[in-house]
Amino acid sequence: MKPSEQTRSLGRKIAGIAVLLAGFLLAATLCFGSSPNGSQIPSIFKPQSTPADSIFRLSLLVLTITGLIFIIVFSLLVYSVVKFRKRGGDDGREPPQVYGSNQVELAWTVIPVLVVLVLFFATARVIHSIQDAPKPPGTIEVIAIGHQFWWEFRYPALGVVTANELHVPVSDSSNPSPTFITLLSADTDHSFWVPRLAGKTDLIPNRENHTWIDPHETGLYLGQCAQYCGTQHAKMLLRVYVDSREQFDQWVEDEKKPAVVNDQVGEGRRIFETTACLNCHAVSGTVADGHFGPDLTHLMSRATIASGAAPNTPEQLKIWIRNPDSIKPGSLMPAMKLNEKDLDALTAYLVTLR
């Protein structure tokens, strides 16, 4: 290679690296900067609950240390590549042959060991603070059961059963009311992940796992299944509604009531109770007590159907019942093959389940 080519290719390399770094910085800015619709982005860097917040603080330490290491080693790398490149007008002789240096080796062994020690102790503290946290008196207990491809939520102390949309009270530091969640699975592995509230924990059949959250602000927090669980893993979405204490108590009151009975939709109810619907779904106060699908007693209290895959409107309900695969291909709910009249009646019945 001629010297001029050598310089050019080196220049291109440095330019390339500079462009990449600029891109990375730009990306980081866009990523962590504010966005107009910030609340819907489930970013791990906008924690709203103690476990997520402890992880966020730890991540700042880890990012700082790794960032410093990156800058140091990257500079050394670039310096040696640029400084020790073969230059034009080289005399063609071999450079001095250096075989190693024990002092230098010792230095770059001991310093990383110290860094690792710092990181380990900082991490161990956070592990302990999250995993071994005590339950205060005001704790809400929830059992979350993963199904292909939806979430079942049971509040044993409150007598509430619901699906896909978890309601929890906001927890303020003076009067904490965290929610402790026991994680079970009815079929395959799943993982419960709402990034702004806590890290993920798996739901594994034949095993009982635990996680907890204590959201500081009311609102909707999005998440989804984070362990591949089958065909529709992608649309096993998860919504956590953090309510004020009053809203939460009201919600519990409403959910505890049996299903609304409305004689105007008797035909729809008859269809529901005489087709395969009741094999999988339960509506309290009726003969329907299936457990393979979500409890429908208060279906219309939920904003979405199909585990968050579609908004809960009469039109979407009809599309869903007619052919679930059109919303969620591979979902385990079969197409019910009802005629249009029955479908209308059934939908009319379902929308009364408030």
Binding site: Q97, G199, Y228, G230
Partner: protein, 557 residues
């Protein structure tokens, strides 16, 4: 070469009928031919696995895309992962090892040439089994069906209840069969390196490539054996009604995870240590200096080998281990950063004070150093178990391990390919095309895998065939997909270079790089049985000693 052909009584071996020459390749027990077979087989699989990745990225280019169905997408990521790990990365590294180890330690073949051939054909047969699932997956039921359980195939998704048909059977048998091939290769590497070094080559004077492949061989035996055992257990579950992993009958899903990852993490080092070996051969030659701190490099590799056996459960931080378990695996995971860091510093030390030549092999190795540094740092982030509860199983982790496997392993493999191509083919590759390959691939790699970290931090889990708009993931997925096309263009240039150079490349001569290890002392390509007379060495760089009799290495070692 001439003396061999005369001995065989054939004027020109290329004049024989094509069928006969192909037959030679099928029945060969020559380590060089088997090495090349491994490499060509892996390159073919690399293209197939790359097409699968491209299909996934097209599907994810926008939210709610309908390019493929969820069923097809799930098959694609299962096949992509299985192909790239078991039928690209492992065989291509075994291929280089098989080709280079006897040449570099100055012997005429592997210790067990027939086992060598057997191992290759088992690996090849494993890949065929895996891909036969596309047409035979559902057997008599009709349409074909590739496995869709993910490349780590967590129980109980693999049980009969959740995976009816035969696609999972093809997956498990493919891994079982290729695993037997891998263990055979490992036994062969270890025996060859320990028993067949040329006179004068003590363990302390072996090229680093031999040392690192020795450690790799040990890791393969320790890591692939539990995986093979687990595949047999899964087969017992699926065919004979066993309940090891059948949770509906009281089996343990977590048991499978332990079996898989006690293979899966050492596997990362099985793949990266031979790449360390390539870097440790290429960087000194193109810096014109010996490797900095040879004994420390060997020690660090052995340390990595040992520690890598104790970190597997960092893949399982989210399965509900106790806080003590999580702390233990955090500690071991972070400790492994120390010997790995030492290696990076030693490579920089090797370049320090040298005269660096930016030929394609060196460019790929510099790319490797840069990317492996970042991969190591994201590895530390993932090793801090609470941070892992957020990042694990998200696109961040996908970006991290592609940084290791593409940015680390594939880059050095490309470097190794260009470095030893002249030796294997007798012809030089085209340097301009190789540089095009490097830059296209570098840009594509960074577009894809730098930006892939971000949706992970914004809550995007892996293995989803589609995603919701409005979560801040759209733009990153678009950029990631665009990068794939640059990478594909780079690989096309690579294949074009390979074919063009085989056909028209300049003659390479014995030693085009002015290098120092024994493979460059013989012809390119080397004759059958490599060396007319077995060489005798006095130092780690025997060719340096010959070229610089006034200043030989053995005075300093």
């Amino acid at each position: 070469m001439a003396s061999d052909t005369i001995a065989l009584g054939i004027a020109d071996p290329d004049a024989r009928p094509i069928g006969e020459r192909l037959h030679d390749w099928v029945v060969t027990v020559d380590h060089k031919k088997l090495g090349i077979l491994y490499i060509l087989y892996s390159l073919l699989m690399l293209v197939i696995g790359g097409v699968e990745a491209t299909i996934m990225r097209i599907q994810l280019i926008v939210p709610h895309n309908h390019f493929v169905s969820p069923q097809v997408f799930n098959r694609m990521f299962t096949m992509h992962g299985t192909t790239m790990i078991f039928f690209v990365a492992m065989p291509i590294l075994f291929g280089f090892g098989t080709y280079l180890i006897p040449l570099m330690i100055g012997t005429r073949d592997m210790a067990f040439p027939r086992l060598n051939a057997f191992s290759f054909w088992m690996t090849a047969f494993g890949g065929l089994l895996l891909y036969f699932s596309f047409i035979g997956g559902n057997g008599l039921y009709g349409a074909g069906n590739a496995p869709d359980v993910g490349w780590f195939a967590y129980a109980p998704l693999t049980s009969r209840a959740f995976s009816p048909g035969h696609s999972t059977d093809f997956w498990t048998l493919a891994i079982l069969v290729s695993g037997i091939g891998s263990i055979g290769t490992a036994v062969n590497f270890i025996t060859t390196i320990l028993c067949m070094r040329c006179p004068g080559m003590t363990l302390g004077k072996m090229p680093l490539l031999a040392w690192l492949n020795l450690v790799t061989g040990g890791l393969v035996i320790l890591a692939v054996s539990p995986l093979t055992a687990a595949q047999i257990m899964l087969s017992i579950d699926r065919f004979l009604g066993g309940h090891f992993f059948d949770t509906q009958a009281g089996g343990a899903a977590v048991l499978w995870m332990h079996f898989f990852w006690i293979f899966g993490h050492p596997e990362v080092y099985v793949l990266i240590i031979p790449c360390f070996a390539f870097a440790s051969e290429i960087i000194p030659v193109f810096s014109r200096k010996p490797i900095f701190g040879y004994p420390v490099m060997v020690g660090a590799t052995i340390a990595i080998g040992f520690i890598s056996m104790s970190v597997w459960a960092h893949h399982m931080f989210t399965v509900g281990m106790s806080s003590y378990g999580n702390a233990f695996f955090t500690a071991t995971t972070m400790v492994i950063a120390v010997p790995t860091g030492i290696k990076i510093f030693n490579w920089i030390g090797t370049m320090w004070g040298g005269k660096i030549q930016f030929k394609a092999p060196m460019l790929f190795c510099i790319g490797f150093l840069f990317q492996f540094l970042i991969a190591g740092l994201t590895g530390i982030m993932l090793g801090a178990s609470p941070f892992n509860w957020q990042l694990g199983n998200s696109y961040f982790v996908v970006a991290h391990f592609h940084y290791v496997i593409v940015g680390g392993i594939l880059f050095t493999v490309f470097g190794a390919f260009y470095y030893w191509f002249p030796k294997m083919s007798g012809r030089m590759y085209n340097e301009a095309l190789a540089k095009w390959h490097f830059w296209l691939f570098l840009i594509g790699f960074h577009l894809t895998f730098d930006f892939m970290h971000i949706p992970g931090m914004l809550g995007m889990p892996r293995r989803i065939y589609t995603y919701e708009p409005g979560r801040g993931w759209d733009i990153w997925n678009l950029i990631v997909t665009v990068g794939v096309f640059f990478q594909a263009a780079g690989v096309l240039v690579f294949v074009a270079n390979l074919l063009w150079s085989l056909w028209k490349g300049e003659s390479a001569g014995n030693d085009p790089w002015d290098a120092w290890t024994l493979e460059w002392s013989t012809t390119s390509p080397p004759p059958d049985y490599n060396f007319a007379t077995i060489p005798v060495v006095e130092s780690r760089r025997p060719l340096w000693d010959i070229k610089h009799p006034e200043d030989p290495d053995w005075k300093y070692e």
